[in-house]
């Protein structure tokens, strides 16, 4: 209780960035527990937080093992959506013709519910990792494209003219002006994409799989094992948060100059 004696120490801990969401989480869990007790909700409808924690505690080796395939599929799908999404966005932003052909179709394809076509991938690619990767990729792809197109298009035309007037080749101008300019938008797309890729991987596991967190959820719903199902949800949420955090860290490294990161730079003039 060293902090308790110095109020500045306590307030510093309370104000630390990671403590706030944690405190909020505690509030939510307490409210959850209280409402179950108050409204006498039976355990087969909503399990109490205690039961969920108990499952997390006792089954963690099994849950951890099952979360690897999900993580793997999510990361592969996410990387694929970045790998394909950014070049597609470059083409769409760079050419009016490509845009008029591809963009409407892309939006159209986005309106097709992925969960409805996920069983098709099982038919085509079997029960392995591939259908999950594709499902994660399909969900993560669209936000990357939309944000990156926005980023590439918002370059000041005067800036491009300026670089072109210096006899910069198209490639040089692109690397020096367009690409760095689009980076903040690309990263905001990637952050949305990475969380959606988790959803995609789980959807893939729902429709046909014998491993992964999605499979655990499916199985536990079948047996009315709600604490396990909620424990799987907690794992999924954690997975999303961790991946999001990693992308956020990379963003800080890649675009330290951006307005959103400026408070880190000490103004010295």
């Amino acid at each position: 209780m060293a902090e308790a004696k110095s109020p500045s120490g306590v307030s510093r801990v309370l104000n630390a960035a990671w403590v706030r969401p944690f405190l909020f989480l505690v509030v939510i869990v307490v409210a959850w527990d209280l409402s179950i007790r108050l409204f006498r909700i039976p355990a087969y409808q909503i399990p109490s937080p205690g039961d969920v924690v108990a499952v997390l505690w006792s089954d963690w080796p099994e849950l951890l093992q099952q979360s690897w395939p999900t993580t793997y599929a999510t990361i592969c799908g996410f990387l694929l959506s970045a790998l394909f999404g950014i070049p597609v966005a470059m083409l769409i932003a760079g050419s009016k013709t490509v845009e008029s052909y591809v963009y409407p179709l892309l939006v159209f394809s986005q309106s097709v519910p992925k969960i409805a076509i996920a069983p098709l991938f099982v038919v085509w690619f079997g029960f392995g990792i591939i259908p999950k990767v594709i499902s994660a990729f399909l969900l993560g792809f669209f936000p990357v494209v939309v944000s990156a197109v926005q980023g590439f298009k918002s370059v000041d035309p005067d800036m491009v003219d300026l670089a072109r007037a210096m006899q910069g080749s198209r490639f040089r101008v692109f690397c020096a002006v367009n690409l760095p300019h689009a980076m903040p938008a690309i990263f905001s797309g990637l952050k949305v994409s990475v969380t959606l890729a988790v959803v995609g991987a789980v959807v893939g596991e729902f429709v046909g799989s014998n491993s992964g967190i999605g499979y655990v959820m499916q199985r536990s719903i079948g047996t009315f094992d709600l604490p396990t199902m909620f424990a799987a949800l907690v794992i999924l949420a954690l997975l999303g948060v961790i991946l999001f955090w990693i992308v956020d860290r990379i963003e800080r490294l890649v675009i330290p100059w951006h307005v959103s990161q400026r408070d880190d730079i000490i103004f010295a003039s």
């Binding site: 000041d156 005067d158 800036m159 003219d161 300026l162 670089a163 072109r164 007037a165 210096m166 006899q167 910069g168 040089r172 101008v173 020096a176 002006v177 760095p180 300019h181 675009i255 100059w257 951006h258 307005v259 400026r262 730079i265 103004f267 003039s269």
Partner: protein, 282 residues
Amino acid sequence: MKPATQISAAGQPAAHLRLVSDRAEGAPAGITLSGVSKTYRTRDGDVPSLRPLDFTINDGEFFVVVGPSGCGKSTLLKMISGLLPPTSGEVLVDGEVVTRPHGNVGIVFQNALLLPWRNILSNVMLPIDMKGLPREKYLTRARDLLKLVGLEGFERKLPWQLSGGMQQRASICRALVHDPRIMLMDEPFGALDAMTRERMNVELMRIQRETGKTVLLITHSIPEAVFLADRVLVMTERPGAIAAIYDVPLPRPRSLESMSDPVFTALVQQIRKHFFTQGTLD
């Protein structure tokens, strides 16, 4: 119409201050426009932007264009830099017809347009990177230019850490670093406050004297035009055409006191009349 002759006498800086590389003699220096016009094709039909223009900007001259907004001044600038082909006629820079970006220009826009991820020094070095010239060779020159505009010590700063006036000075350095013959400036001080603007005018005049560049500057401000220019070209409303070209017989070097010279005020009055009969100056 005789070009201002006093520039060569008073505007010649001491040899050690000249940042101009020696140019091969022979070719007619300067910018020549013969019958240059521009018409934009849009879905609603052709929109004429510039009527055929004929004029010459001499080597080392400070040439200022004033005109109402939308009269095709920026189009003019893009055609001289080779970014935009004219619909008819041809642009000659140092005797050669311009068909594509020739790199012999430095451009300054209303906004400084510094790349936010590059520090001031590497922003100034952008033309060198674009042209693929050896960096080491031009680094000293970039530093010298920053010193010339009073930005020594700011090389490692990022653009947003500088004030608007300082950013615009850095962009002037960027326009000069590859040692072009010509500086094209599109309302370079339009975004600055009145006091900074006056200071920048004096500074630009000094930079032009010290470097001996040909400057084509576009502005909305008639006093600014008269204060800076050897010659002022007045344009009509869209589609742009030449209304008149005036010699500015004010002696150089000029200071802000020149603005109270009767010659100055008379010329400003005369140019202003063009816009009162035509409409308004934006």
